[in-house]
Point group: D3
Chain length 319, copies 6
């Protein structure tokens, strides 16, 4: 049986060497990156049986994504599109450093996935899974995808699959008002909500201390669990009325991209493996801290490493 | 005064290392590539005062193209587009080797240039130039561009600027029938036609020996000069009724992309410098042969090197 | 159902850049390489449902091999060994050029696989497959492996799985006499024998024209099919008494390592897909010729590319 | 009209990878570096119409410098020298880290520029500019250059061009006493003096708090503006009797080389754009802080980035 | 005359780029690494006449090690082994970062050195040297080596050569109990003991403040000198009853591997050059701090740099 | 005892990647290159006890050359010069390909060696060697060096050391007339002359078939041996009146630089090892052919490889 199915867009991530500007570079590093596959990879690496659903052009570029995800043990359910008729989304990532922020340029318009319908996708995978995960990026990509996302979430719920959703607000895709409407159309189908503190404020107008935010959302939309993530300040979950807090593990950050997805992947992997909420929060936080030390979107970690961080005995040179 | 103005699309060219497949690569080499800027660069490097017109997103990617072309001495006249509203075309190039051909994947749909209108572009540049050059790729990119191309060619002709045009048929952009109609709409505004033997056959139905093809086109459309290029078998020009033949110079091919544009750039640079047709053909052929030894779309050559190939005394180690 | 199961050793392949000697290099390229996984990858890429069985240390190095093979769509059945107790085989590859041959240094003694027993491996995979493949390298690695190989071949035969075997003589592992004894112990369990002309001569004393060699082996050991491969001179098969010849497809060789395995992978993939012997020989030869253009042991090809070579219309630049 | 003209030496900057010592490296990164072109590039990138004057060998190496500067939008006025008779200066840069300093090895003796006379250079550029800039490195390179520098400064002043000068003391070129004499010979022709606190102390014997240093210099040599730069402790300007202080913007330093030139480039760009002294100091400080995050001598920045640092809202990931 | 002779294993050190995991890497950096050759290189670079003794396969890999060490001025006395019969140890190094430690995977079983006997090695080198150095890694590699180590130490002592030994406990080679027995069998032949505080505790059960540890060992085993190293907390020596303390010099750590060996190499180089114990401790600490800034196991430093750190005037950019 | 001592200039060789032009490159490969050290390295690698004499700046760059040569087993006798007063010669190498030749840019003026006097160099090394070698580059570098070269050759002859000299004409250093005078001043001190056919014609006016050239030189200047090298057409020696011819071994050329030096190094190594003239010619030709397959100036070969080429059984993949 499948533990976790995710659905969303994955792009080619193209980044120049450290210290080099995108505007000048002669060389780009190539990796796969996308919120939902990042979650699937983290979960798969931590032992969850994971599947990623998407729509891709049938080209070397589309195959490249699949083969990278597959190498981490993720199975894929792809609607292959005619390579001459469609394209693959890409994003350019320039690493920053104070006072210059990390810069992301998306080139994702009209990607194959924007036309994905439920009929093209292996819905059986959603039905048979323990958890179905997607994020707020997916419905923002096109009207078709907004509908497909809703249908998949509904399908999941109707078949007893737990649904998890990360707001993942992207200001380049829609306005806060559009996002709010989009989110709220999906909320009735969602069990577990992950919300960055900033997204909750910007899009949903939920401010205040994180417990208030989490409780408010849980109450208003009847979520089983709400996890509020606060970047360097840790996370907080309200689940079945209980509150759980989790700090961050200290990390030397090499690449911060994908940290949030690593958190979700770790959290869900532990949940489907039987962990309770606080255990899963710790597992997610540890996965996220390890991710920071690794180049790329993906949490290339092992269960032993995550356990070691949770158990607080990592560090040093082992030889 | 400007010698040569060209107008067209330039893309980011992304290519994996030799022997590595696009489907597997972790690294992409980045360069600028586009028929019309390739011609402008070759001509500028050979001494012509060159300008390239285009429309680009105002982003690090758009600026990257401009800075690369500018580094070769090409001046640019750019209509800058809002980076959030548009994109830059890219193309992926995988070097081949028998029995596997070199593979090109275009990702150019909806590039900024597809909406370029004559009003946005510095038409004065076209009016003041000795030669205006574009290729059959440009009108194939969008209906707007087909109109813009026609307007620019007309503007040039009306102001005494010689117009040059390379068929450059791209089967991924239009059918032979569409191309024929597109070409023939522009032919009345063209002085110098460059036609690959294959394109003349495929799109215009002109077959037979190259002289017949060239004469037929010159007669039917009243071109001042028609140059038929035949890849490894050299080229032939009919100009004011005279026929000139030119062989290829032997070359160790490192990268064949851009060879045709190098030929045109060398040919035009010599023409605007006062060379007659056979001298210009030789100059074009030499530029093309040098291009083959160099990685990338661009003919990174010097006038001395081209002269040396024409004078046949190159080769060996000079020290 | 599984089409092809292979069993054998895969190593880390470490190679310096072109033109650089192993003795001086500061940098090694890392890839997976091993006859049986090379075959599984080629077959999987060409559409066969493929599984690779082996034994590996449970370490980043062992996982690296699995993830690379998995990225090509091969499923794996691994007996994981304690990383502190065992090791992973490696091989160093220095590309040559006349008058200096390509040089291979094996460092494979005591690799985890040398202790693999049938009990540790998922024998069900062998039973359920259409074809079971291994090569003469496997029994040469240890006495334990010689026995395991025999057992797996027997298991396959008893369950109706076709068995295929490539002599793959390695002089650094055993003498021709030892190899002869080792091979002949396994021949009773083999349906399809692949034999390089040179190996047949060196180890089995079979010389003469390839048809004689193939017929002799088929008659003496009752093989269903014998394929004699002759490097640049093509291949010849005797199958159920019929003779089939196949030439090589011209190729620009970038990396010759793995060419033979690509041939076998292409041949078997076509066979399990219903191709007859001559079709499968052509498919194998085309896969092998494409492999030559690609860096690494693996045939990173697509069914379309192989079909295109067989159909003889490859080459040139498609754009 | 030209905003800023600078005159000076630019070298090939050759540096090994991070963590690698020059003494051992197999690979050198190549970039252009020189105080006056660094200033011209920073200013050009920030919108100033900039020209760089110099003398170079007519070789691929000389052309390389021009093309790199040109790619940033700097125009060049070069006296080309016979490549067989002269050379290009180079400098080797080894990045350090406590307790090992960054190490610079100059190989600049007898560079083409050391023989540059005013007659060879396009003096009209100096006459038509708003600002003429050079630094104390230039007169230190040769006696000829000391005279040429004086002549150019005089020419500028006589034509109403504001002159700006950075002490830029280099102990490997001359002694403090020689530098003092050299500087003071030029001071009568200078409007804006930039002086590192350390250089003012070492060469001019001016110590004490920066305001005292700046006022003293302004009073004694009748400068319109004196800017004292104090590295991590910010800068201070005395201009027409007024005092302005500017702190540094926090930065993660990737490469500190060129920080001072970035400051000057930003300062001058803002001045010619109509900024007052405090605005220009802030702009210079922001440009310098951004430079620190970028590999190479050059401040590869945009006006928007500099404005954002001044406005204090940079940092984070924008997506 | 030879100043320092060391004996031990050197491996190929293979490491992926920063931020990349061993499990995913396509590229490995190659360098030589081994405690005793690290010491020999540091000492040779600092002016000591140094020789390294070992046993290696006569292959490109074995020659690679020799040529790298030789390039630093170390002479080598090698027992060459048949390359087909033996192997070279390798180790994989993955750089870490909180919360993930640096990870080392040894692949050193059955390396050529494990069979080295005193007869194969140039014992004259040991006899003629001022200092003979080896570490606790060597006797842990095989029983043969434990005996060879003892013989060489004895030979040294009998010929008036000072013997120095670093515990260098490696938990992957033996248990603390085995190590204790191994160490104590050698202690009678040792003059100078270097012991990491942690090794002294783990293997010898010596805990408490470092002076107590050092005095206890010196008294119990009659060492002339005992140096206790405490990582970031400095070192302490007891020599002929006197106590000396040494802090660490602040360093930006790029690569911590080999720091301890650099300390020993600096310490011994100063000792054989006539330095007293506190001078030698300072020299060792400075060498170690410089090592931290350099990629690889080796302290690529100069005597001037070490002297500069000791004299506390390093840092900044010199130009 | 020393077998071969050579004296001459070695430079840093800086070359861009294949297919990339020097004018555009961001990256340079760094190696040591110089005729006399190339010969010393080839000879040392083939078993000769070799020493290289030169004068170098005492800097990381000077040390880099020494460490690279030392890594091949060459001992060095260096007159170290003050790094602030002198420089190291460099040369830029751009690989070509028809119709563009390989391009070399020397930047060697005022290198440290140009001031080398016999007193600074370890003349004992010359006296004690079996062969002293230098080339026509050395006396061309400065008048001081012309004198030093003469003195060293004389010293060698007076002490019974055989002297060998390669004309190695460099048109960028002197005219044919100057070279002729320079050569003829040294000829009285030379036993073995190596002359490229082209150099003999250009500088000495010796044309005609190679035997005539060799005999003419041997007769006129009383050389013991004259070797005329003819590039792809092999070589011919006249020694003590006998004539010997040697063809070239077929090679796939990766880098032709240093081929002539490899020939001399192989020839001399065999001579000092007791080989007769034809054996030594074959050895030289084989060394040269292997050199062609290797990147860089140096013949990174082994005696076994050279013997294998001479014995004609190289090629293929050994595994």
């Amino acid at each position: 049986m499948t533990d976790i199915v995710s659905f969303g867009e994955t792009m080619l991530r193209l980044s120049p060497p450290r210290g080099e500007r995108l505007e000048r570079t002669r060389e780009l590093d190539v990796q796969a990156g996308g919120a939902e596959s990042n979650v699937a990879v983290a979960a798969a690496r931590l032992g969850a049986n994971s599947v990623w659903l998407s729509k891709l052009p049938e080209s070397p570029l589309g195959r490249r994504l699949v083969s990278e995800l597959r190498s981490h043990g993720v199975r894929t359910g792809i609607a292959w599109d005619d390579a001459d008729e469609t394209r693959l989304g890409t994003y350019y990532l320039e690493h920053g450093g104070r006072p210059r922020g990390t810069n992301v340029i998306y080139d994702r318009a009209d990607a194959a996935i924007t036309t994905a319908t439920p009929e093209e996708l292996p819905k059986a995978a959603v039905r048979d899974a323990e958890v179905f995960y997607t994020s707020g990026i997916t419905p923002a990509l096109s009207e078709t995808l907004a509908e497909t996302t809703a249908t998949l979430l509904q399908t999941a719920r109707e078949n007893g699959t737990t649904t998890a959703f990360d707001l993942n607000y992207r200001s380049k895709l829609w306005t806060p008002e559009e996002a709010k409407a989009g989110y709220e159309a999906l909320f009735p189908h969602i069990d577990v909500l992950v919300a960055a503190e900033r997204d909750a404020a910007t899009c949903l107008g939920r401010t205040g201390d994180p417990e208030t935010v989490a409780r408010g959302l849980a109450d208003d939309f009847d979520f089983e669990t709400v996890v509020v993530t606060r970047s360097e300040r840790g996370s907080l979950a309200v689940s079945d009325g209980q509150v759980y807090e989790q700090g961050v593990y200290a990390a030397d950050t090499y690449d911060a991209i994908g940290t949030g997805d690593a958190f979700v992947g770790g959290f869900l992997a532990k949940r489907v493996d039987g962990g309770n909420v606080p255990e899963s929060l710790a597992y997610g936080a540890a996965t996220a801290s390890l991710k920071r030390t690794i180049d790329g979107d993906l949490a290339v970690v092992t269960p032993e490493e995550v356990a070691s961080v949770v158990g607080d005995d990592a560090g040093g040179i082992s030889r």
